[in-house]
Symmetry: C2
DNA sequence: ACGCGCTTGTGAACGCGCGCACAAAGTCAG
DNA sequence: CTGACTTTGTGCGCGCGTTCACAAGCGCGT
């Protein structure tokens, strides 16, 4: 409750800081919105969009209010407008460079995956330490040697690690050294990064173990 | 504070219900413990194990106390004992059957992945709707047609969906129909399941978008 | 035998996120 | 123009999870 709270009641309250939980759901909404847009839907209520996204409708409204989005009471949200707002917030307007390190079984699957290409995110470069692989064409890209890392990284690049766990920290350090500040790690290891680097991990072994736990629990109920 | 609280002060307080957040970290501890065991370490302090797992040490201790695990004050935890305790809690003692549906780019990578085999979890069956693939040998397993689903599912099986999004709900329904109550979904769709079915999802498109968001934020700081 | 130092286990405070429930605000029909 | 209906935006209480900080406990050296 500072001094000037009645001064600007009409200003869209774009939150300076968006809660992490909200950020994690925006892509979900975005996907649902694209589906709706493809079906020709113009307008959607929070109830319907929440249903399509698999979340609570109050949560959805609160999330959208965070980004200053204005729906229309009695009507709902404009699908196209919402798409562009969320896209802008996620930084998907300007295409984002993604660099993949480790072109093995998993790396090849990722390289050929078109799922994010449609949303402004696409893998731009493939790197591997194996010289036998250098020059190979995969999904329209040429595999380059890891030594060329500095040449493919641009400011704002996202790094993806799909190497064996034993090489992950080393690759991570190389990425950080090249200026990458956002890393997605598929290797089952704890990685150490400077505080200014964002690190996320995907570990399906962990996912399976969590499911195993619940399955185990059910069996002894 | 019920009546008999002083009666059994020595009973290991095995929690009847373990918090979800704790369950999600147990596999992390398990991995770190296996590494320690391989190095011949006998005993580990909460501080050291927390460091190796990338978590706070107080959190680690609270997590372990949940499963009634007893460390020794002044010494730490017995590595071997802790491994068997966590493994038992996660249900990894008795090998757990995993059924993979959708043998495409991603499915093949998963099929050949040995990362969970070492921890009591391994894929037992590969299923696909494409008849041209039926009978093919992948990673020592024969691809079977999706119609054979009921024959490969056993009570306690975990289902993994790696089909295109358009087929995911249909496959999901088939799995549920066959008695599967734990599903891991890689397709970018919201799946509807009965309340008694555990559903987890892995969506790297979402992971990338979250990273994109933070990268975007940094750029306009 | 006994105290010293190390480490566990946990009480308590805090902050975040969730979801209910409702008032405010807008639409649309007549 | 008015009133009824629809849907948003959010205040509020609650429960979960995280972390600090410390007392209790255990081993070891003397
Ligand atoms: N395959 C899967 O389904 C799967 C699933 C989950 C996690 N993972 C994890 O993903 C990672 C990759 O798995 P994979 O099956 O593709 O392994 P892989 O062995 O098939 O491929 C690893 C690739 O990394 C390259 N590499 C090794 N060291 C490197 C370095 N220092 N710099 C650059 N490249 C290097 C290798 O040349 C190889 O091409 C592993 O950590 C694995 O645990 C894989
Ligand atoms: N490839 C990746 O790196 C990647 C990454 C993230 C997510 N995904 C998701 O994982 C899923 C699979 O991706 P992919 O690249 O392996 O696709 P893909 O097209 O290569 O493989 C899909 C497989 O599913 C099979 N299939 C289709 N309908 C089926 C049905 N009804 N029953 C059983 N099998 C059926 C197809 O025959 C095919 O073999 C997709 O939903 C994709 O969005 C893929």
């Amino acid at each position: 409750m500072t001094t000037s709270e009645l001064a600007e009641p009409r200003t869209p309250r774009r939150r300076e800081v968006i809660p992490e939980a909200t950020v994690a759901r925006l892509p979900l909404y975005l996907r649902a919105l694209h589906t709706l847009a493809d079906e020709g839907t113009q307008t959607v209520s929070s109830e319907a969009l929440a249903e399509a996204s698999g979340v609570n409708s109050a949560k959805l409204r609160k999330d959208l209010s965070q980004l200053g989005s204005y729906g229309t009471r009695g009507v709902g949200y404009d699908v196209t407008h919402l798409i562009s707002q969320i896209s802008r917030e996620l930084g998907l307007s300007r295409r984002c460079s993604v660099v993949l390190v480790g072109v093995g079984n998993l790396g090849r699957a990722l390289a050929g995956y078109g799922g994010f290409a449609s949303r402004g995110l696409a893998i731009d470069a493939l790197l591997d330490a194996d010289r036998a692989m250098t020059g190979e064409q995969i999904a329209g890209m040429t595999v380059r040697h890891i030594d060329d890392l500095a040449q493919v990284v641009v400011p704002g690049s996202i790094g993806v690690i799909a190497t064996p766990a034993s090489a992950a920290q080393e690759v991570c350090d190389l990425l950080v050294g090249a200026g990458v500040t956002s890393i997605l790690n598929f290797a089952p290891t704890v990685l150490n990064v400077p505080a200014d680097v964002d690190l996320r991990k995907v570990d399906l072994s962990i996912e399976l173990q969590i499911l195993s736990f619940h399955e185990h629990r059910k069996s002894l109920a």
